[in-house]
Amino acid sequence: MASNIKYPDSSARYFIQGDKLALITNIDTAGGIRTVPRKNFKAISESVTDGLLIHFYGDPNKVRTINDDIDLDNSLHKAVVDFVKKCLYMDKAGRVLEPGIVQTAMQMAAMHEKNFKDSVARFGMRKRNKTGGTRAVVPVNFR
């Protein structure tokens, strides 16, 4: 079922307010443009099944069982292992009473945390970026 909006790019707008998406149009129920000087952009006047298509960055699928695959690109798999080890070393540091083991566990936790941050935040864009090729315009050699 199509909508009665012929040119959504000029007749509709959206904005985000908190955890809500607002959709406004200046098209009335009959498909004409509202020409009143005030209040011409209002909520959409019709119900359209699958009328909105939103593109967003979302959370990877969570795992439920031990056989579930990690819903991430290959390049980010090691970051998950680093995060898990970081948490386990921190747990160990809080559980053990011997100062030497505590210190070692804290150092290992810090190392895995750094690896995780480097992998995801510092170099993550390189891993996620799927665009390739030359990034400079190469001038023609006239010789």
Binding site: M1, P8, K20, L21, I66, L72
Partner: protein
Amino acid sequence: MAVHKLNVKNILSMVRQVFPNVPESYLISLVNDALVEIGVYSTKQIQAKISTVADQMFYKIGDDAEDSSGNKLEANKIFRVDLMDSEGDYIQIPRLLDKNILLMDADSNEVAITEPDSK
């Protein structure tokens, strides 16, 4: 190709080299924490369809929001919105940066505004 799948069992075997007694349920919980943390950094692009409702201005996009098929959105950052035109094609619509529009839709249903708790 070096592409391989990683599942929780693989992670468990890696972790048990150092922590032999770690419980599976705790590991699954930690892996899910890791996925939430990594998800903040724009790792997964998703497209979802939402049905428009007549005279409804606001649509939920929070963690409990669902698309028209009933799947949870779990959206972190929306970067593009398309609206179906009269020919059934999806056309990108512009985002309004100035949210101080004159007309506020506050009476359609509970989606529009968040009222304070009665307790």
